[in-house]
Symmetry: C2
Subunit: 406 residues, 2 copies
């Protein structure tokens, strides 16, 4: 289903961890790779030049958001998403299902803070209301736009068509993403529907220069995960993604990876949806993940949560008021080469846009640099040392992944 511009090559392996290269019509992506999230056709606050300057190889954009605004037809008429946002390198798009579902389901379950249920993978809707917003059936999902309340429909066929219109290099199958609150029976029914939708996505997938990823579902239930990994892994997708609820803890997430990855075809790239805290990169890469996307580095940055080698700091804190040191001594990013913590704190306290921008640049530089070090450590056999040294210094944050550190 793919032409010569698309491919995946494994260059080195160390246990289950591997270094590879995804080829796309917009360049190569050295894996393991991290894709910053550009929800609305912009990685918030940054230009394409900024992203290139910190080594970004690809970004993930959200089909749900772009489908609603400005619309996929418009982006197609203007030459596609790459041209629209002036991003010359690889773009991955998600299927839109996650946002359409999470909006409706979270409200159905009476959970106010959607971001806590579905950490990381996408921006939470702006103003959830109590009205049930999404309806799922075999055809697809009908939902109310978070922008204007209009009724909208996404199906496997529509999602693939929209992603073709956007022109992403790597696209995702339309799946139903269950929450940790879903019970076994519901999770199984949703998984089986996802499997039927997977075949419909493959049928709709006619663009030979887009690599389509299937998505393994099954929640935190080992037999469902194994069943889904076998089913999705047996279909002729370009790549394999692991989605849905990854449980309630890091351990749960690791179990999901351990149940599924050994059942996936080893020659295909594996993407983990919505994950990307620094410690996760080690634990998931060593279990065989090749790529990540996550809003954590960018969203945390806009809340003043800044990564350092000793953990995450909250730049708003009074202790940084007169701190002339950079966020991290020795960091090569523009923010750290140029500004003090005291100045960044001032920008955040004064709610200056430049603060969000400088923090975003730093956090993405941190993650992308860490990812590059991980790649190198797999190549030269020092992955275990790098992981040990990193984890010995890095104090995991007390706030949950994806939540605001405020």
């Amino acid at each position: 289903m793919t032409d010569a511009t698309l491919g995946f090559e494994i260059r080195a392996q160390l246990g289950a961890a591997r270094v590879g290269r995804i080829s796309t019509p917009h360049g190569d992506v050295d894996t393991p790779a991290f894709f910053p999230v550009g929800t609305q056709a912009t990685v918030k606050t940054l230009t394409p030049d900024d992203l290139l300057s910190i080594g970004t190889q690809g970004i993930l954009a959200n089909t749900y958001h772009l489908f609603l605004r400005p619309g996929a037809e418009l982006i197609e008429r203007l030459g596609g998403l790459h041209r629209f946002m002036a991003w010359p390198k690889t773009i991955m798009t998600d299927s839109g299902g996650y946002q359409a579902f999470s909006l409706g389901l979270a409200l159905e379950h009476g959970v106010g803070k959607i971001a806590k249920m579905f950490p990381g993978s996408a921006e939470a809707p702006a103003r959830p209301t109590r009205k049930r917003l999404a309806r799922i059936d075999e055809v697809g999902v009908e939902f109310a736009s978070h922008l204007d309340g209009s009724r909208q429909l996404l199906t496997p066929e529509i999602s693939i068509r929209v992603q073709q219109q956007l022109g992403a290099d790597l696209i995702l199958a339309f799946d139903e993403c269950t929450s940790p609150l879903s019970d076994y029976d519901y999770t199984r029914a949703a998984m089986e529907r996802t499997h039927r939708w997977a075949n419909r996505c493959l049928d709709a997938w006619t663009s030979t220069h887009q690599g389509l990823y299937g998505i393994v579902q099954g929640g935190a239930y080992p037999d469902l995960r194994e069943q889904s990994a076998r089913f999705i892994g047996g279909l002729p997708f370009f790549g394999m993604a692991i989605g849905g609820s990854l449980g309630r803890s890091k351990d749960d997430m690791h179990h999901v990876l351990e149940w599924t990855i050994p059942l996936l075809p080893p020659e295909k790239p594996r993407h983990l949806l919505g994950i990307g805290e620094p410690t996760d990169l080690f634990s998931c890469v060593e279990r065989g993940i090749d790529s990540f996307d996550c809003v954590a580095p960018t969203r945390l940055a806009r809340h003043g949560g800044l990564y350092t080698s000793t953990g995450r700091l909250n730049i708003r804190r009074t202790e940084y008021r007169e701190d002339v040191s950079p966020i991290e001594a020795g960091c090569g990013c523009y923010t750290c080469r140029t500004f003090s913590r005291a100045y960044l704190r001032h920008l955040f306290v004064a709610e200056e846009i430049l603060g969000y921008r400088l923090a975003t640049l730093h956090n993405l530089h941190f993650i992308l640099t860490l990812m590059a070090h991980i790649r190198q450590s797999i190549l030269d056999g020092s992955f275990a040392d790098l992981k040990r040294d990193f984890l010995a210094r890095y104090r995991a944050p007390a706030t949950p992944l994806g939540a605001s550190p405020a």
Copy 2:
């Protein structure tokens, strides 16, 4: 009162217009010059690198804001404002009086939209209340902080001390800025107080590497303006600024310049406070103004008002939804070299920070490039041609200067 690092040299003259060079401890400023406004120690959305890339020679920062947050003592302890915000070139600071007064006075007069009364010169306070916030007497102005309501005092001596702590290269005398609603008697009394304060500022001015500008007041009254120009012009200031109410129209503003500039010492640089729409640059330069500061380019940008050679466009408008052209064909700024109007419109409609940034970069590039062309045209004698050609194409915006184009 100034050391060898400070000076002003006139290099060419064409009628009343002149090309000169202000020397400061942080480099030269070729005049006529435009200073972007960096209210809170940041030109909103932009880095120092951005500002340098578009030819910024100097910026103006607001003493009132920095006095309240993060505080001038803190900035002094951290090495001064240049180091704090990592801006290597010239900084001018205002005296803080304008904001302290305008906040109190505008409310006293029951005028809700402060920005309309005091266009351009500084950011309007965020949340005005009905309480009278400022009290003026011979000593200075007592006002309530717009941040926390705390009572604060600014006097000529405090203002000069704060500006010394900030370490700006060019500083302004503490004056009382009257509004167009002030009558003759009040405007005269305020002017006379400003004159007494001018002498107190000179007495307090002990830093030989800071150039102090006196400020001509007198509202829209010719005899008061002449009296103030003679008085301030006769004092040993480094430079001369024209402040206060410039009337209610462009004609009024031009009259104020015509009454005052011929009475000012020709060898000193002349700064016009708070003005800087494209057409103003021509009309004020040809009357003898050497430098400008204005929030219009940056504030308008954040509202989607973008300068072009044919006038200002509002990028939010539906007509730009599918417009693949840049803001201005042939413009050399990063925004125009990289993005379409359609993409910029999307960013504004989606309220994406990147939109404010790209628009700010364009508007400042437009103004600074125009200023450079004006300088060149004075040198080569083509100023009248440049002005005629520019005004023939440029359609002045219908919305008032400094007001939101929404």
